[in-house]
């Protein structure tokens, strides 16, 4: 389609951008996006770029308490706790993928000197854990044993526990536990697991749940579409590979089973109590500052095993999973099989998506049902799609269980929809950025679940900025090298699925000396969860960061915050602390006003003091006001408590969700972004070198730009590993290598610097209009690289990771087609 033809189209709304048009791919000036008035109303501006008013602490790139402890090396992680008489724990795991357990013989292990306990399923008071239903269609409720007694469903499944005087003795004893198996047929591919007659992983069937989203009439729209793009894409088992392995120390204190562990969710105390058949108030979970998690510590890891060993031995126990145990048995990110049929008009407007998603859940539910809901709900990406038909299934296999992994299903589908967008552009010979501009969602648009977007959709701004960061194209470094560019846009929810009631509490107190104390039950995974609370409280109460202490993650002592997952902490606990600080200010301001001789409305909180803003008018109080310590004393004299608890409940969308049509309320809000890359592909070796990489996301408002950039750069890097290097290889359910040396994650020497560009639309549902950003930042990387490789070599990778072997296979297949004289002129037609 020509520029003239585009310009002549009716109903065009021109989005003006200050950023020059993108240089990729191909020639041409950025064309104004056109919108069809038949499908939706044109909307107002989405991108009031960086439209946030400056604040005094929020928005500053300040270092916090946790950073200081970290650069000193003095912060204590879960493995760093020691108690007198501490034992060392070890899990005995299944060595086969699918079997009946004939017998478990523990006598030799028990007889080893220094062994304090050997436990099997018989010793577990309530030997099952049932994952709370996600609410999916036909969802199975499957009990997972804490320690397998009669049936093994994956290699690595826990069967017995050992506690001993030293780690060496515990490890030796674990070797002495003898398990006799009668091996059973297993199923290791989710496609095979769906076939009639496939071995059943669980008696009720191999489909954990099936989500459906139906909007409009996708089949009719596809039949009427000018062009239909069909594609299949696959992702791999991915390891979180937090540098800190799963770890913790447990003990009994005041008759309470107490665990100090590396966990995203201290609320697991409830499940631990169920397993031990104890009242919930007899289990206490403390979350140490974590050495990373990325979803890998969202489910319980060491907790039930530590709790059982502590409860049985009545002694402190430490358990650290070795790296190899972690790779062998920890939950993984889901492999997906994604089939897309995308219908569009000749001018590049999407009319329909027909999408089928299959996720390998492995042997037990964990969060698979929820992951596949995220995948379904986000499968059309940040594009207006009037007709949608999605089916998304979580399928049991005898592989290692899969669960939460940064991006949570929305990560995988970006490869699907962004590969499809590039192919649509290629098929229509359109500019790839233009095709996206033409279809971007805008505030007020209706998404596939039937909901209306309530905040700005600044994805267009992120696209322009990310592309601009690549600057001039690089020349290939040799005759066998090809340079290509790619980019990918995304959207990712922040906050829990709204049909789960959610709340977060924060407690604040001004101490006698004017310092501030925060208590909040958040777990800090390393992303600054605690620090952002301090920064928000500092902004509102005018207390400097050095004079704020924050206590987090303790079911006994901190008010519940609900867990660190679903990019919910800034949104939920950030709002809670903001409201708590405002409430506290409201409590003490009248006392201050009285002392300062000014109206309450004129009391300002700054520099650790309260002052009268309209001092010259009222003429009363001294300019320096009074210190917060003095204010506390005045409050005490008036029986005003300078302490407050606030419980934040987000606006509940109570209109429900229809699991047959997929229409209803899903997520509170979304974050949007674009990544762009330039790569060089070596046609002889298949190696892909990333030359330039840019990430740009709308964060609403950056509470701490240093930390936001860090999230963006780190998420991009983790995504690059996922795109190019990382894969857990399984052979009949057994992990081929449990060495970190064989699970390649990016090193500093593997990838270029990540250029980060923050967009602040000033619209988000978090505190001060912030958006959650922890998960949004990873999903774009894989399609960005896939699109760049396709641009470089003319053939499209559709399976992750894009290893040299896979690139060579694409090139070899292309050679074969060439030799037979039927080479396709359309890049990406190789599959």
């Amino acid at each position: 389609m020509s520029d003239a033809a585009l310009a002549a189209m009716p109903g065009g709304q021109i989005v003006v951008s200050e950023v020059p048009p993108p240089s990729i791919p191909g020639p041409g000036v950025a064309e104004p996006p056109s919108r069809s008035p038949e499908t939706r109303e044109p909307q107002g501006a989405d991108t009031p770029a960086s439209a946030v008013a400056p604040m005094r602490v929020v928005g500053q790139p300040v270092a916090h308490h946790d950073f200081i402890e970290k650069v000193k090396g003095s912060i204590l992680y879960a493995a760093d706790w020691e108690l007198p008489g501490m034992l060392y724990g070890r899990v005995v795991r299944a060595t086969v993928s699918s079997a009946r357990i004939v017998s478990i013989y523990t006598e030799k292990a028990r007889a080893l000197r220094g062994v304090a306990a050997v436990l099997t399923g018989e010793d577990v008071p309530s030997n099952q854990l049932v994952e709370q239903s996600a609410g999916g269609f036909g969802e199975l409720l499957v009990a997972m044993p804490i320690l397998a007694r009669d049936r093994v469903r994956y290699a690595g499944e826990p069967i017995a526990l050992v506690a001993a005087e030293t780690q060496q003795i515990a490890d030796d004893a674990a070797e002495l536990v003898q398990v006799e198996y009668e091996e059973l047929p297993g199923v290791f591919d989710p496609g095979a697991a769906l076939l009639p007659g496939a071995p059943l992983v669980h008696d009720d069937g191999n489909v954990l749940t099936s989500w459906h989203i139906q909007r409009g009439d996708a089949q009719a729209a596809l039949a009427a579409a000018d062009v239909v793009i069909e594609g299949e894409y696959r992702t791999q088992h991915a390891e979180h590979a937090s540098l800190e392995p799963e770890a913790g120390v447990g003990w009994i204190e005041n008759d309470v089973v107490t665990l100090r562990v590396s966990t995203q969710i201290i609320e697991h105390a409830t499940q631990i109590a169920e397993i031990l058949k104890l009242p919930v108030n007899k289990v206490r979970v403390i979350a140490a500052y974590m050495g990373g998690s990325f979803g890998g510590k969202e489910g319980m890891t060491v907790e039930p095993y530590l709790a059982l060993l502590v409860w049985k031995t009545r002694r402190p126990v430490r358990m650290i999973w070795s790296r190899q145990e972690s790779i062998l048995a920890s939950t993984k990110g889901h492999p997906f099989i994604m089939r897309y049929r995308t219908g569009a008009t000749n001018d590049g407007r999407i009319v329909a998506q027909d999408i089928d998603l299959i996720g390998d859940a492995g042997a037990y539910p964990y969060k698979s049902a929820r992951v596949m809901f995220y995948a379904a709900a986000l499968s059309c990406g940040p594009y207006f799609t009037p007709n949608v038909s999605v089916r998304s299934r979580a399928v049991f296999t005898n592989n290692v269980p899969t669960s939460a992994f940064r991006g949570f299903g929305a990560r995988q589908v970006t490869l699907g929809y962004e590969s499809q967008m590039d192919r649509l552009a290629e098929t229509l010979a359109m500019d790839k950025a233009d095709v996206r501009r033409r279809n971007f969602l805008h505030k007020g648009d209706v998404i596939p679940t039937g909901e209306t977007l309530e905040t700005a959709v600044a994805v267009g701004e992120t696209l322009e900025r990310a592309l601009a960061r690549l600057e001039e194209p690089s020349a290939p470094s040799g005759p066998s090298k090809r340079v290509g560019r790619g980019f990918a846009c995304n959207m990712q929810p922040y906050g829990r699925t709204v049909w789960f009631p959610d709340s977060a509490s924060a407690w604040l107190s001004i101490q006698a000396d004017g310092t501030l104390l925060i208590r909040s039950g958040v777990a800090d995974v390393g992303g600054g969860q605690a620090a952002s609370l301090c920064q928000i409280a500092s902004e509102i109460l005018g207390v400097s960061l050095e004079r704020i202490s924050v206590y987090i993650g303790d079911t006994a002592l901190t008010p519940p915050a609900g867990g660190t997952f679903a990019t919910r902490v800034l949104y939920m606990s950030g709002n809670a602390i903001m409201q708590a600080a405002l409430k506290l200010r409201g409590l003490v301001a009248p006392v201050a006003a009285e002392a300062l001789g000014c109206p309450v409305a004129e009391v300002v909180f700054e520099d650790g003091r309260v002052k009268a803003a309209g001092k010259s008018a009222s003429g009363g109080a001294p300019e320096e006001g009074i210190s917060l310590g003095e204010l506390v004393r005045l409050c005490e004299a008036r029986s005003v408590d300078p302490t407050t608890l606030y419980v934040f409940h987000p606006d509940a969308k109570r209109r429900g969700f229809d699991t047959e049509t997929g229409q209803g309320a899903s997520f509170p809000d979304y974050s949007y972004g674009t990544h762009a890359a330039e790569v060089e592909v070596d046609l002889e070796t298949g190696e892909v070198e990333v030359l330039k990489y840019a990430t740009c996301h709308d964060v609403g408002r950056a509470i701490n730009p240093l930390r936001v950039e860090g999230q963006m750069q780190g998420g991009a890097m983790q995504g690059l590993g996922y795109a190019l290097m990382e894969e857990i290889n399984l052979d009949e359910g057994k992990i081929a290598s449990s060495l970190l040396a064989d699970y390649l994650i990016p090193t500093s020497d593997d990838m270029p610097d990540v250029m980060a560009d923050i967009v602040e639309s000033g619209e988000g549902k978090g505190p001060m209009n912030a958006r959650g950003i922890g998960e949004a930042v990873i999903g774009n990387a894989a399609p960005t690289i896939a699109n760049a490789v396709a641009d470089a070599i003319g053939f499209r990778p559709t399976q992750l990771p894009i290893t040299p072997e896979r690139v060579l296979a694409l090139l070899d297949a292309a050679d074969g087609i060439s030799a037979s004289g039927s080479v396709s002129s359309v890049p990406g037609a190789s599959w």
Partner: protein, 165 residues
């Protein structure tokens, strides 16, 4: 297995401990002597979180037996701190430029960078990138780590030029 007496010289202080001949330096430092800035990450010598300086050279303490390093100078990250636990200028730049997130890799990263800075007056960003290849970080994407190391080296070079002139 019989225990052996060894003297480990850590951050300028001699510690006498009993260890098995196959006890790893990592475990002796972390579990026996309480140096919690030396951290287990993989046990394969791949990740770098257990890095210490051995006579100034960065090594993975999970690949060294405690009995091998008697009387050699062992430095952990805490050993870079000055009087009253004041931060080393390299730690200051990590703090200022956000070269840490979860912090688990940070001791190994800073010690490796420190070792490079001791050997080489003014390494390029690419040399820093290569040198830090054995210190995995899963959070930062490395960009801010490289920024911090580079900034420290620039400041140091500037300071020494100032001193000369």
């Amino acid at each position: 297995m019989s225990l052996q007496q060894v003297t480990l010289q850590v951050n300028g202080v001699a510690h006498e401990i009993s260890v098995a001949p196959d006890a790893l330096l990592l475990d002796a430092l972390h579990d026996q002597l309480g140096f919690k800035d030396v951290r287990y990450g993989c046990g394969e010598g791949v990740c770098g979180t257990c890095t210490v300086l051995l006579d100034g050279e960065a090594v993975s303490s999970c690949l060294v037996y405690a009995v091998q390093v008697e009387f050699r100078e062992i430095t952990t990250l805490a050993g870079l701190l000055g009087e009253d636990e004041s931060l080393h200028p390299l730690q200051e730049t990590f703090l200022r430029l956000g070269g840490t997130q979860c912090g688990f890799c940070t001791p190994g990263v800073i010690l490796t960078a420190y070792s490079l800075a001791q050997r080489t007056p003014r390494p390029t960003r690419e040399e820093i990138r290569y040198e830090l290849g054995g210190s995995l970080c899963r959070c930062t994407g490395y960009t801010k780590i490289l920024d911090a190391v580079e900034s420290y080296l620039e400041d140091r070079a500037f300071a020494s030029e100032e001193a000369r002139s």
